[in-house]
């Protein structure tokens, strides 16, 4: 670093609290989000292991279950309501505190400002508040486990009347469900703050020469995700307010007349519409799917180009595809409701729009393969996870072609076919992108390299493991296996699929065990990894021009100037096989 330090107008804060806890530095906040997500993903995964165990051993008595849940697992046998609360919390924690948090708020916070040449986010204090609000939301969510009745059992979609009529609909529907809605509302607030920061930063804080069409694709996906979050979470917040009023203030937004629950006439609610909740929820819920996956697409595009040493195939098409997905994402929520009793004509409109959104997704896949074509692929662990992402994205995306047709949904709705579909495309595909991002950016974030051998073993085990868990879900879906069942022994035709479920459970154990390798790698590398150089991957974007880890205000007071697009690899006539974005214009012989 030859940059003069005194050029910086700002000084790094001193003192433990301002530096690491209530920090306004986007890099610290990004790392805080990352570790919040890491905690959440292990919590969510543990819940899923308990579920998978119970599904294939519904009668098993495990003594420490009784220790953990003296009531809901009295005698060590898990009750169906405990199973459903694990399921609800698994889904909620994974969707909100992992898939929404890590790729966007974690990596985005850390790398968006650096990649566009800014010193920080536009509103650093707001950024800090956003993280601590998210933290509060997580605390409130986890608290639902410890209240009377336990965590809610209505699933992450919380359909009323099950979620709206109070504890008479089941255990966990008391305080637990109220806390759940409260946590989601707090989370919405945090996401809105984050979205404001991401959009203002991208629009206004780009450095000289960083035209929009010179931004790395990661920045594009963070921008579009922020817009989706802004509009989507606003609606979820409104829906959450209405649902909580139905529960605590006796209003009837979603609760209809004529309810008779647990031998009681529900006289104080009338005239509400359960479908209204579904419309509001999925107006948020479908964009949420893209909030989870778009940053993953950005990371994948970015890494494929870097490690294939090639320009991204069709940069503009990729940008337009992201914008199209973002826009269409708001017009397809009804495909979650084909069987809900909504107008069947609107189902047809939603299905056509749904097929339309498949087109930009397909474009992305084609362009990824086009990017690899003719490349010189370096198989780093980060690249392996990106390639794995492409494979999973194809597999998970194609099952959507079945589910997007209302006619075929007549059979598949709420079967394991759906569970397999969304886990593959928005669950593990997004998580693969997170692993890719971790291996790729770890050197920059912590100044040390991760272990590649351990990383590759982890990759192969995880790749085979998730295919082993989620592919068979499609098969049992074909048999008509309903989802959200804690036990399959009551339905005769499910006898044949129980061995398949056993196989999935074993694969889940294996995959979970493989994650221990990741944690070891992460923490071992933090302490003992080889020192990372400034640009270990010979990549082009701005974060690779600054030390690892970057100084407090990223560029040490120097204002970077960008002269090239983000993916100038293997340019003919240039000796080195990459041109940094900040290289002088003369670095490239002719406009390439």
């Amino acid at each position: 670093m030859s940059a003069p330090a005194h050029a910086s107008a700002h000084h790094a804060p001193s003192g433990f609290w301002r530096k690491y806890v209530f920090s306004v530095d986007h890099k610290v906040i990004g790392i805080q989000y990352y570790f919040l997500g890491l905690f959440s993903v292990f919590l969510g995964m543990s819940l899923s292991l308990l579920m998978r165990f119970h599904m294939v051993n519904p009668e098993a008595k495990v003594s420490w279950f009784a220790t953990l849940w003296p009531k809901a697992a009295a005698g060590g046998m898990m009750t169906p309501e405990l199973y459903l609360s694990l399921m609800t919390m698994h889904g909620t924690i994974m969707v909100f505190f992992v898939l929404t948090t890590v790729p966007q708020s974690g990596f985005g916070n850390y790398f968006l400002p650096i990649q566009i040449g800014a010193e920080d986010m536009a509103f650093p204090v707001l950024n800090m508040m956003s993280f601590w609000t998210t933290f509060l939301a997580l605390v409130v969510m986890v608290a639902a486990f410890f209240v009377q009745g336990g965590a809610p059992l209505s699933g992450w979609t919380a359909y009323p009347p099950l979620s709206g009529a109070g504890p008479i609909t089941g255990p966990g529907e008391g305080i637990g469900q109220t806390l759940w809605i409260l946590s989601i509302a707090i989370f919405c607030g945090a996401s809105l703050m984050g979205a404001i920061n991401f959009i203002a930063t991208t629009v206004d804080l780009r450095c000289k020469g960083m035209k929009l069409m010179r931004m790395p694709l990661t920045c594009w996906t963070w921008l579009v995700t922020a817009i989706l979050g802004l509009l989507g979470f606003a609606v979820l917040l409104a829906a959450g307010v209405l649902l909580i009023l139905d529960r605590v203030a006796g209003s009837s937004f979603f609760l209809p007349s004529g309810l008779f629950i647990s031998d009681q006439i529900i006289a104080n609610h009338k005239g509400g519409s359960p479908l209204l909740w579904q419309h509001l929820f999925w107006f948020f819920g479908h964009p949420e799917v893209y909030i989870a996956i778009l940053p993953g697409m950005g990371v994948t595009s970015h890494l494929l180009a870097t490690f294939a040493r090639k320009p991204i195939f069709g940069y503009k098409a990729m940008v337009y595809a992201v914008l199209a997905i973002g826009f269409l994402g708001f017009l397809v929520w009804g495909h979650h409701m084909f069987m809900s009793g909504m107008n069947p004509y609107s189902a047809m409109a939603f299905s056509v729009l749904t097929m339309c959104i498949g087109v930009p997704s397909a474009i992305k896949t084609f362009n990824w393969i086009g990017t690899l074509w003719g490349g010189k692929i370096r198989f780093t662990t980060a690249m392996m996870f990106s390639l794995g992402f492409v494979s999973l994205f194809v597999s998970g995306g194609l099952s959507g072609i079945f589910l997007g047709q209302p006619a075929l949904d007549l059979y598949f709705h709420d079967t394991y076919f759906v569970v397999g579909h969304f886990h593959m495309i928005m669950g593990v595909a997004a998580i693969f992108a997170m692993f890719a991002g971790t291996f790729y950016w770890f050197p920059k974030m912590f100044g040390r390299m991760m272990n590649e051998t351990l990383g590759k073993i982890h990759f192969y085990l995880t790749f085979l493991g998730v295919y082993g868990i989620f592919t068979p879900m499609h098969y049992v879906g074909l048999v008509g296996n309903p989802r959200r069942y804690s036990d399959f022994t009551n339905v005769e035709y499910l006898a044949g699929v129980i061995p398949v479920h056993k196989f999935m459970t074993y694969c889940a154990y294996l995959t979970a065990a493989a994650q221990i390798l990741f944690v070891i790698n992460l923490f071992w590398s933090l302490k003992k990894g080889a020192k990372a150089p400034v640009n270990p991957w010979h990549a082009t974007s701005l974060e690779w021009t600054v030390p690892s880890p970057p100084p407090f205000d990223n560029f040490a007071g120097v204002h970077p100037v960008v002269n090239h697009g983000p993916y100038e690899y293997s340019v003919p006539g240039v000796e080195r096989d990459f041109v940094m974005q900040t290289d002088p214009p003369t670095a490239v012989p002719a406009e390439g």
Binding site: S2, I116, A118, A122, D204, A530
Partner: protein
């Protein structure tokens, strides 16, 4: 793989900072004039915030339209007449803020302080008036659960009031700074932002009044 090879590349290219207000969406410039909020970024942030608030109220409105159309239990609720007084108070507060901004443009700090203080006080009065309206409704036996029309009335007015709390805090912050004679150029942004936000809440309130009297 040998990826972790040494690096020969020059690190940061560092010509002097770019001119602050160049380009925007299409351009290549960035007003990167420091850590944190430049004036332009603050405005972008404001527009984004207004978009989010608009979405929240759009969601409530569509819920109201659907809920009203779906069933036969919708009964128009009695609206406390004080709402009209509140409306006038809110509009006056917006006007006062505008007078204040004009005074500032003319360089008259003293007049700015007076008008801004009046505007903030009227804002607080509106909140007090709303509280009065809710109490009157409560005394008349109209609660959140009484009828869907009253449910929506409470939800919409409370959400509006929640926004207003933020707005009033911003106005008071500016006011305190102004009275302590600390209005540097950076505070101009705070003045403009809080005034625009306040005007937005004005417009939102008028929209809600129309909604209540036509549909509620």
């Amino acid at each position: 793989m040998g990826m972790a090879g040494s690096l020969t590349h020059e690190t940061i290219q560092g010509p002097p900072p770019p001119p602050p207000f160049e380009g925007g969406w299409g351009g290549g410039g960035g007003g990167n004039d420091g850590r944190g909020s430049s004036r332009r970024a603050s405005f972008t942030g404001l527009w984004v915030l207004l978009a989010a608030s608009t979405m929240v109220f759009a969601a409530f409105t569509s819920a109201m339209v659907v809920r009203r159309g779906l069933s036969d239990d919708w009964a128009s609720m009695p609206k406390p007449p004080i709402l009209f007084v509140n409306t006038v108070v809110l509009l006056l507060s917006s006007a006062a803020l505008d007078m204040a901004r004009r005074a500032l443009k003319a360089g008259e700090r003293g007049r700015f302080n007076t008008w801004w203080t009046i505007g903030s006080a009227l804002g607080l009065m509106f909140l007090a008036g709303q509280t009065l309206a809710w109490m009157q409704l409560k005394d008349a036996g109209v609660y959140v659960s009484t009828n869907p029309s009253s449910s929506f009335f409470y939800v919409l007015t409370a959400s509006h009031a929640f926004h207003l709390l933020g707005g009033v805090s911003a106005l008071l912050y500016v006011d305190v700074q102004a009275l302590r004679l600390r209005l540097g150029p950076a505070k101009r942004t705070a003045i403009d932002i809080s005034a625009i936000f306040w005007h937005f809440l004005d417009g939102l309130w008028l929209y809600l009044m129309v909604l209540f009297y036509v549909w509620g």
